[in-house]
């Protein structure tokens, strides 16, 4: 149990400036843990760390909680019509359910309400330094971390504090991944990344090319189908477009029902293929390429409307973009189209600009951290990356259990150091494990996980850690 007086904010007047790092002074924060980011993952990290008795300082570059789900934030990728892709029970925090009279797939504004209520209910805001961004995170002696912060935008002086542990929860859906195409710079039409897309008014009456078959790309294509003069949807290969409802229930709940009944993956795939075949039919008749993989082998694309608008002829499926000309776009099949607006829904890349990539095991060749459970860092037992998962469910439950595991690990470092050391050894030997069945390789989906595989692995890790 914690009381409000246990851990206040670091007070510059009171904290002893007793350490020095180069020319900078470092304020010592004792056993306090630093959380970077107050999005959903950061919030659950604060909640679970304080619940386990730790003091927490959270740094948030924006002025509110909610991270990407807060449309007021300049890095938020949500657009007016964003709804959940996974249904409520597979998205909410396990110990703080969303209201049960909310829709199966709530709107992003409801998600923000939910996160704000989570923050208020557990009184998390008192731990958050808003408008403060983290500039550097460097290891210090004794497995501690020096975290350097400043006001967002670079105003004011930098300040360095020394923490017992750090949870990196800066999110992975804010740094746009833009393709490099020949001639893109000379293209006369408007080009934007999906992160800049907010409202269907941006599409109204224009000829629009949407690039990318992710959930965002499909959402924008269906909005363009209703608003634009014409919509081309460019995809690199064929995909399975899962509807939001199957057999009278949210499709992900159907999948989880089969998972709970231990239906093998191949059988689930076969069943989903048959269900789609029976209800939606063969998509190649609309000119879409045949999927080159089985269902459940890529991040699920959940969109009931795309096929509907293909059937209305409001969306024209086209292959990959090859190059841009000043007035047109050349496609892989030699066709040329002349959009006024090109929207790249090509996804985002995780970025940890405040951390030396080597700390996360990225040797500079792949650009990918090497972690265990996508969270724990070899040789750095007091550092965790939370929320760096792309599950076939909501991220919140995964982040929740990651932070519970990390909090209990930190506790054990004091009470049973040998258990914590055994955990650290496991992290080193098993770093880089994957938690999904065979998946199609893609540059941004290396952290794709199956939520059931991943949560089972987390559960095993938690039980091993707590075993007598």
């Amino acid at each position: 149990m914690t009381t409000s007086t246990d851990h206040g904010r670091p007070d510059p007047e009171l904290s002893t400036l007793d350490l020095a790092r180069g020319a900078r002074s470092v304020s010592y924060r004792g056993e306090t843990v630093c959380v970077i980011g107050a999005g959903p993952t950061g919030l659950t990290a604060i909640k679970n760390l304080t619940e386990h008795g730790f003091g927490v300082d959270c740094y948030e570059r924006e002025t509110g909680v909610g991270g990407v789900w807060n449309w007021r934030h300049d890095r938020s990728p949500v657009y007016a019509s964003t709804h959940l892709i996974s249904s409520r029970p597979l998205t909410q925090f396990p110990d703080f359910p969303m209201p049960d009279d909310w829709p199966d797939y709530p709107h992003h504004s409801q998600l923000l309400t939910y996160l704000e209520r989570y923050a208020d209910h557990f009184d998390l805001r008192r731990h958050v330094w808003f408008g403060t961004e983290v500039v550097r995170v460097e290891p210090a002696e004794g497995d501690r971390w020096d975290v350097t912060t400043r006001s967002t935008g670079g105003y004011g002086p930098e300040r360095t504090s020394r923490y017992a542990a750090v949870v990196v929860a800066n999110g992975h859906n804010w740094s746009p991944k833009l393709p490099t195409h020949e001639g893109l710079a000379e293209f006369r039409g408007e080009v934007m990344h999906a992160s800049a897309y907010q409202d269907p008014a941006q599409l109204r009456g224009r000829r629009v090319l949407v690039v990318g078959a992710g959930n965002t790309g499909c959402d924008i294509a269906t909005e363009a189908a209703q608003q634009a003069a014409h919509c081309w949807h460019s995809t690199r290969r064929g995909y399975w477009y899962a509807p939001k409802y199957l057999l009278g229930r949210p499709a992900d709940q159907l999948n989880d029902l089969m998972l709970a009944l231990r239906v093998p993956r191949r059988l689930r795939q076969w069943l989903f293929h048959r269900l789609l075949q029976a209800s939606v039919g063969d998509l190649t008749r609309f000119g879409l390429p045949r999927p080159d993989h089985r269902m459940l082998e890529t991040h699920p694309i959940v969109n009931s409307q795309l096929v509907y608008y293909l059937g209305h002829g409001r969306v024209t499926p086209v292959p990959e973009v090859v190059r841009f000309h000043p007035d047109s776009v050349e496609l892989a099949d030699g066709r040329q189209v002349d959009p006024e607006l090109v929207v790249f829904a090509t996804g985002y890349l995780p970025r940890f600009e405040f951390l030396d990539p080597k700390i996360l095991g990225d040797d500079g060749t792949t650009g990918r951290p090497v972690l265990w459970l996508n969270a724990f860092v070899p040789n750095h037992p007091t550092l965790a990356v939370a929320g760096l998962v792309q599950p076939d469910s909501g991220i919140f439950p995964l982040s929740h259990w990651q932070s519970v595991l990390f909090a209990r690990l930190l506790r054990l470092r004091e009470t049973r150091p040998n258990k914590a050391a055994a955990f650290a050894a496991t992290v080193t030997t098993r770093a880089g494990e994957r938690y999904s069945g065979p998946v199609k390789e893609s540059s941004r989906h290396w952290f794709e996980v199956g939520h059931a595989d991943y949560l089972r692995a987390l559960q095993r890790a938690l039980h091993d850690l707590e075993a007598k």
Partner: protein
Amino acid sequence: MSQQVRIMRGREWARPVRPVRREVLEAIPGLDEGRPPLLFVPGFGHGAWAFAEHWLGHAAERGFSGYALSLRGQAGSGPAPEATLRAYAHDVVQVAAGLSRRAVLVGHGAGALVVAHALARYPARAAVMVAPVFGGWATAFTALRRNPLGTLPALVGGRLQCNRAQLFGRELPRDEVRRHLSRLGRPARRAQWQLLLGREPEPAVGDPPVLVLGSPEDRVVPHSVLIRAARRYGSAPLLFPGMSHDLMLDARWREPIDGILDWLEKEPSGG
């Protein structure tokens, strides 16, 4: 109680509990002093009215906002003939998560078992088990002995019914007893079976402090069961000798609620 944390809940995710209209009665103090809200959960047959009678108002007078819930299918809440303990616990967690601050869950009778299940799904500030009925054969035999006509049907699939002698003390005026008895509802059949054969509650999340209280003269919860229930949470029960099972409706209702509020004020998390 199994001590391992359960992460995978595929069946629950795949079959969410259906929403239902929930009756919540409340009494809010005029001045918010930052105290945690109390959520009262009635036992089987009772509804939010049992707490609205005395306890809600008294808690508000002492600066605690009080909320009393009627489980689905009971009193003013929507009908739910197929309700299970899981659905009941879901109702508790839904109402608790809807409050502005972390709540203290107070369960009475079988409502304490519902609270014990809810504690595994919601990190409450604290929990209070009032004359807890955790089910099991000992409780069933006691009920059989005291009230064979009301209990026997339940064992063969009928409805459980409590009688006057089980619930109320002799000091309570006759017309008041009649008023309460007329309001008693009947629990859902499946939840009733789970009282006897249901699974043990999972460990509570967030490690909340738990207070168990009751009366040694309770005709529903034998003294030994009360002691065992308290031991489960690592403490001894707070006893109010001479009181009946329905402590919140007893002529001496003020003593137990003051006991609860005093305990909350003493707890480091309560203030």
